[in-house]
């Protein structure tokens, strides 16, 4: 049966990603004592939280068949903007509530949403492919960040540490934020009509348009949300290192895309589950952490991450090829 075989291959693909994660954990856990400690495991979660938060936005964008290369630059910009604004408008040291800091955070996030909106504007109105639009945004934003400060800028006034360094019980706040964002993403995708439209637009844009779906509106929404998530990730990052670095977030867009693709989101859109993106994010985290612990140098880590991406996409394509072959047979 063609239908049975098809279903089987989907399960196999889902299964694979979990097996890879389990295998990595077992492998590192077996060979490295330091890996097994609960401190290290929580550390992994903390390490992946920045990419994880932004990956929720990346998932939405990629489900519509788009891509967001500007995520890393938005992360950098978000932190830099916060640092500059706090420098200009610090809270009084004895203030009971850091009102300025809170306001600045909101403002920074609004700017990030606007950047995402602008990405969608160029994609929608001028039909510039998402890859080009967000590549341009990435380059321009990064330039802007260096213009704002070409070296690290400390956070002034209110100690803006808790967001990135605080914990609730044993769990770091960034991890909690990541969990909340992933949960919100899951709810959005699985229980709202807009989530359904995200899948529909990625699955068949023309059929969606002819079904009365506001395709451009959906695109505005997902790119704006991606901007929001990246901005939030940037705030967490700047809080964790407590200074805004112009390089911050460089290359994160690639980690985000890798995690999303590892999670089984089709690069052409329309297919994939956010719960598996969590697994994709964890694979990246476990891999990086384990490689560091066994003293693989940073450049080899890059080589390995790159190969992992190719393997993941290759696997995705292979599944789709098998599917189209099966469809032709029918």
């Amino acid at each position: 049966m063609g239908a049975g075989g098809k279903k089987g291959s989907v399960n196999f693909a889902d299964y694979m990603i979990l097996i890879v994660l389990a295998a990595l954990i077992l492998f590192f856990g077996f060979y490295i004592e330091a890996f097994r400690s609960s401190v290290n495991l929580i550390n992994i979660l903390r390490q992946v939280s920045i990419v994880g938060i932004a990956a929720v936005g990346g998932t939405l964008v990629m489900l519509t068949g788009g891509i967001d290369l500007s995520a890393g630059a938005v992360i950098g910009m978000s932190g830099m903007l916060l640092a500059r604004l706090l420098k200009a408008y610090p809270d009084a040291p004895d203030a009971a509530f850091p009102a300025n800091a809170a306001l600045v955070c909101v403002l920074v996030l609004v700017v990030c949403v606007l950047i995402g909106f602008l990405n969608a504007f160029f994609i929608n109105q001028f039909k510039i492919p998402p890859l080009i639009t967000t590549l341009g945004a990435m380059t321009a934003l990064r330039g802007g960040v260096y213009l704002a400060a070409d070296r690290g800028l400390p956070i002034f006034g209110f100690t803006f540490k808790r967001l990135g360094q605080g914990t609730v019980g044993p769990i770091p706040i960034p991890v909690i934020i990541m969990i909340v964002v992933f949960t919100a993403g899951w709810i959005f995708l699985n229980t709202t009509r807009f989530g359904r439209y995200v899948y529909g637009v990625g699955g068949n844009e023309e059929a969606s348009r002819l079904s009365g779906i506001n395709v451009k509106g959906i695109r505005y929404m997902v790119y704006s949300l991606a901007g929001l998530m990246s901005g939030l990730a940037g705030l967490v990052l700047v809080s964790r290192i407590h200074s805004a670095q112009p390089r911050a977030g460089t290359g994160y867009e690639m980690d985000i895309i890798t995690a999303v693709v590892l999670g089984g989101v089709s690069i052409t859109g329309g297919e994939g589950r956010i719960s598996f993106v969590v697994v994709g994010v964890l694979i990246m985290g476990v891999l990086t952490n384990g490689l560091i612990l066994i003293n693989v140098n940073e450049y080899w880590q890059q080589v390995i991450k790159g190969l992992v991406l190719i393997a993941a996409v290759g696997f995705d394509r292979y599944i789709q090829y098998r599917r189209s072959l099966a469809a032709q047979q029918e």
Partner: protein, 498 residues
Amino acid sequence: MDDAILELRDVTKIYPGVRAMDRVSLSFRRGEVHAIVGENGAGKSTLIKTLTGAIQPSSGAVVLDGVEHAHFTPGEAMRLGVGVIYQEFNLIPFLSVAQNIFYGREPMKGLFINAPEMNKRTGELCRRMDIDLNPRARVKDLGVAHQQIVEILKAVSQNARILIMDEPTAPLTHGEIESLFRIVRNLKESGVTVIYISHRLEEIFEICDRVTVMRDGQYVSTQNTADTDMPALIAAMVGRELGADYPKTPVAPGEVVLSVRGLTTDVVNGVSFDLRRGEILGLGGLVGAGRTETARAIFGADQLKSGEVLVRGSRVAIATPRDAIARGIGLITEDRKSQGLVLGMRVDENISYTVLDRHSTFGFLHPAELVRVCGELVEELRIKITSLGQKVNTLSGGNQQKVALAKWLARDCDIIIFDEPTRGIDVGAKREIYQLMQKLAEAGKGLIMISSEMPELIGMSDRIIVMCEGRVTGELTRNDFTQDRILTYASMRKQRSA
């Protein structure tokens, strides 16, 4: 038959739910122009795909030069001299005529392409075929007719002995058709077998030696064109009394639900008509007459240049499909796979796609309601599925079409446009779709049906508007329906200066 160059022996091709070709045996002679005719769904395209190796028959064989090929592949077909001119050309626009013709087989001089030799050979080819074409011209600067000639030359230069032409005259003007026929006659004289697929029967009598009729995937007959005439051919194609087995009982027409006035787009030119409740309005015409474009314009899918649309008597501005749907218009697209369905999504997700706004609060869906709505429609339309969660790409064509239809029933549209509603689906599902259309008409909906299947158009419509080249060329009421009249209107081309 000793002069047979190509034969099909007992070829059957089964798709899920459809027997696209059923034990077809047929042979082509050296140097003949052989027409294949039949309605849509008769199995012509399956036949072409089999002859070019694009699909493998479920059983039976292709016999070329007396050699039986059980697994006939595209590479083999090309090597053995089977060429095809598809309706969509496979040319590279930025390359020259000569570069296209010799693409992948360029004459070389050492490491480099021998361009002068290539152009010279192209020139010779043109002279031999009596064609006036500059080998250095870029293909993108050529008109459709000349692009088609480049395709033909490409096939000829590859020593094609059998050339399949799929609706070659569809994009051509009268003058261009004449020159195409000249080329076809030249090919024939040089011993090439031409397999000619066309909906335009008058062409077949002009250019073809023999004609094979297919119907519902089966071989019906092969005759010399000299021994038959158009009515006999049509009778063989249709194979049944027109309109006899359609579940159609006219409904007393109600108020006008849709009026179209002077609709004009890039393709459509000043189309006007009224549609009443309870009425099925047929849009007839040849492929490319502008019927689909008319539907798309009403539906807001294509940009209007001028003209207006009135729904239930009041003028409405329809700029996007959203606007049309908000006014109660639904469109079942011609191509359900690329335009009608999200194939990777589930059955219920597809059916409810147009009504999610009605079954959600602040964007949050009401799953129980959706299950109920989809379940009722699946039952009403008798869609055969294992569960609502089945992906639509695993359904047969007929069931996919029912899902595409269910989307608009869920929306409870007042005006439903059916564009080729029964294309590529089996006889049983066709009948169910007709019954459904009848039911919708009885419920007071206004229906528009675009169909290239004459019997269906005649059988189901209350009134038929015939189009040609973007204009309405005639209107027929049910008593005046005949295939001849429709075909006459459908070929009423505007005089061209060329």
